[in-house]
Subunit: 438 residues, 2 copies
């Protein structure tokens, strides 16, 4: 019998406690699957005194994460501290440099320092597993790293943030504003007191950077991701999308283009019939377009203690089984620099919503400006708020105009709309949402 | 540098040819991911003379599958012959007994002889990988075997046969009959000339048996699966389902119950809002309910040369990386006998469609028979085919009656309907479709 894998866990919040519990209750199954036992031998957390419903009598308490990471008695360091900086960063580095394997759920750490950490893992022979960092228990890392090992990937995209999808779902289903839904999300614990990390798209960007590296063999680089959040989305956008056969989702999209790998996070119109459009509430989903095969979509809980712990324990079981995959699917030497495809060259269809000051003249002005940029219009709809009747005071009321363009370039759209604004025929700023075809 | 993995491929149809092509075109990526090269050194197929668009000049042609399986020059035998019997069976056995690893896409072989083959793999140390056998490129085997290694599973269910889902989708969307859609499916190459293996549910049953073993740690046993096909489904069932907020899908369901592991294949009403209900056409999907976590659904192509080859190559890459998972997730000694939960004890809601000879009296008779079996009715709907007007000839026309029951037992439903038939108040046989909640 092989000696059991000795695990040290840093961080005993909801996820950490559930990992300890799973390793204990599933001991026999895990041993059967891994060919050896798995034992938690040491832990650490901010407060030792805190009351926990865990029996830690047989488990050593390490002074701090660094002491645990370099503890000679552990084979596998599980980092559940969070954050891109210390103490998580130095502890993970120290564990890898000591030849230990590391399992982490820390997307920020990987998006920022993934390459450096993967180098340390490769050099010293430890595993670096992070299934829980993206989509919790949805096996997207394993699928990209192993399940599609022999298939070229053209695009990977998904709903990677449950908070945003919850807000957009409620806005769509109940016609509520962004602000109202955000408040509800905060009340229900789906959004933080400071929601900007989620709603401005940065959480999605970190996860996308990790997926893009795995899919395309590039060096993980969060800075290569273009980011737009969902706070500008209005109920009228969701209504218009529905009328046009679309839904609006905050997507992270990484796609191979002639200009390089495009990585972008923004509100996106997706066809209502697509798998990704069906994903509602806090659920996450990732779609992978492999060369020559129809898309594969993985749907499930993207967060939550039990779902995250499930992925962490599966990663630990892989370490126990002796699996040492390249953290980003390829040896470091094969990983290419991320060439950031400029967003200005993004090609696709666009949804544009404007408030026209005076419709007849404005429509002509807008059409001219779009034509100057060689943008073809697929549809144009105006909605007179009062059924077209002139208001009592005789003053023209701004009229919403909704345009859908055929595929064009982002810079053409930007130039055309800048010209429309200079023409002073619209009120306020135009709303622009990119369309993603499946 | 480790020596390359030497692969022998038996069967050079669409899948086999695509596997050869992928191994060649993706050589660098595969070597990077696996840490060693992968080389096809020998092949065999029914006809050597057949024209193929493959360059096999540097590849040895083996006399027959058995010669290839025991060829001293290969490390990994790839079986793409198909069928539960010989030559596939003896070749795979011989390869495993010779200590080689085996990759196969052969669901029939695994459903029938999986346990024996897994024993041979375990005894001689080779891998036995079969991701392509269920859901082609959908990584469901890997997810059950590795991705949820530490999570107890309560239920796994899915759309595992593209032919049936294509037929049900067209029936629903176009109001066509089963026979018309089957003919179209045959014309388009989605169904065989003899479609019974698909439409009677046996293909789904084989795949379900494999998934159940992985999910529950039981010995794979196709004979433990209760099977019903889709040929009795009528357009009026699909219309009624839609009115009630459901869709009808041919599901394979394996679920842990107090009576043992229930394994069943039958047309099933699923809530329209569920992930599985969104799956249309030839697409497959599997949902996994893990303990304490929301469901995970994997959606994608369940068949096709490229999708199947993608999974086969990923399995070969795992062999190259030295991964030796237990074929069914646990050591043979841990696999329990499959206790077949009797279908009579199945518990759930039921959809029942009857043709009442004369509605007022019949409704009372049916209600009495159901009440005798302690079955509670959630809803009852009658649809007068001519809006309720008495036909010109004064003769009573049979009236469709649709009942939805609350959760009850299968044997109660069977007894109640037998009594209704004895009462001679209905025409023809009752249609019964089980309801699956998510």
């Amino acid at each position: 019998m092989v000696a059991p894998l000795k695990v040290g866990i840093a961080g005993l919040g909801t996820v950490g406690a559930e990992v300890v519990r799973l390793i204990e209750t599933q001991a026999r199954v895990l041993a059967g699957r891994s060919g050896r036992g798995i034992r938690v031998v040491a832990v650490t957390a901010r407060s030792k005194a805190k009351k926990r419903s865990l029996d830690l009598r047989d488990v050593e308490w390490a002074r701090d994460p660094m002491a645990l990471a370099t503890h000679p008695g552990i084979d596998c360091f599980v980092e559940l501290i969070g954050g891109a900086g210390d103490p998580a960063l130095s502890a993970v580095e120290a564990a890898l440099n000591a030849g230990k394997s590391v399992v982490t759920a820390n997307k920020a750490l990987l998006a920022k320092h993934g390459l450096k950490l993967a180098k340390a893992a490769e050099k010293h022979g430890g595993a670096l597993n992070f299934e829980a960092a993206v989509g919790a228990a949805i096996p997207v890392i394993k699928t990209l790293r192993e399940g599609l090992a022999g298939t070229g990937i053209n695009r990977v995209y998904g709903i990677l943030n449950g908070t945003c999808n919850y807000i957009l779902t409620r806005m769509e289903q109940e016609g509520l504003s962004f602000g109202e839904c955000l408040k509800d999300a905060q009340r229900l614990g789906y959004a933080e007191a400071d929601p900007s990390f989620d709603v401005d798209g940065h959480d999605t960007a970190q996860k996308l950077a990790i997926l893009a590296s795995l899919a395309f063999g590039t060096k993980v680089a969060q800075s290569a991701v273009y980011v737009e959040g969902i706070s500008s989305i209005a109920p009228e956008d969701l209504r218009a999308a529905a009328d046009l056969g679309y839904r609006v989702k905050l997507l992270g999209v990484a796609v191979r283009t002639a200009m390089g790998i495009e990585q972008r996070v923004h509100p996106t119109m997706v066809p209502k019939s697509s798998s990704i459009a069906q994903v509602m509430g806090v659920t996450n989903a990732v779609t992978i377009d492999g060369e020559g095969i129809p898309p594969i979509t993985l749907v499930g809980p993207g967060a939550g203690g039990a779902a995250t712990a499930s992925a962490v324990v599966a990663d630990i079981a892989d370490v126990a089984r002796g699996i040492r995959a390249n953290p980003f699917g390829r040896p470091i030497l094969h990983l290419r620099d991320t060439k950031k495809a400029p967003m200005e060259r993004h090609e696709g269809g666009y949804y544009i919503r404007l408030l026209a000051r005076d419709f007849p003249g404005t429509a002509a002005a807008i059409a001219t400006r779009l034509a100057e940029q060689k943008i073809s219009i697929e549809s144009i709809v105006q909605r007179h708020p009062n059924g077209g009747a002139a208001p009592a005071n005789g003053k023209a009321v701004p009229v919403p105009v909704i345009l859908i363009t055929y595929a064009t370039h982002e810079d053409a759209v930007r130039r055309a709309l800048a010209a429309v604004q200079r023409d002073k025929v619209i009120s306020g700023r135009p709303q622009v949402i990119r369309i993603e075809k499946n």
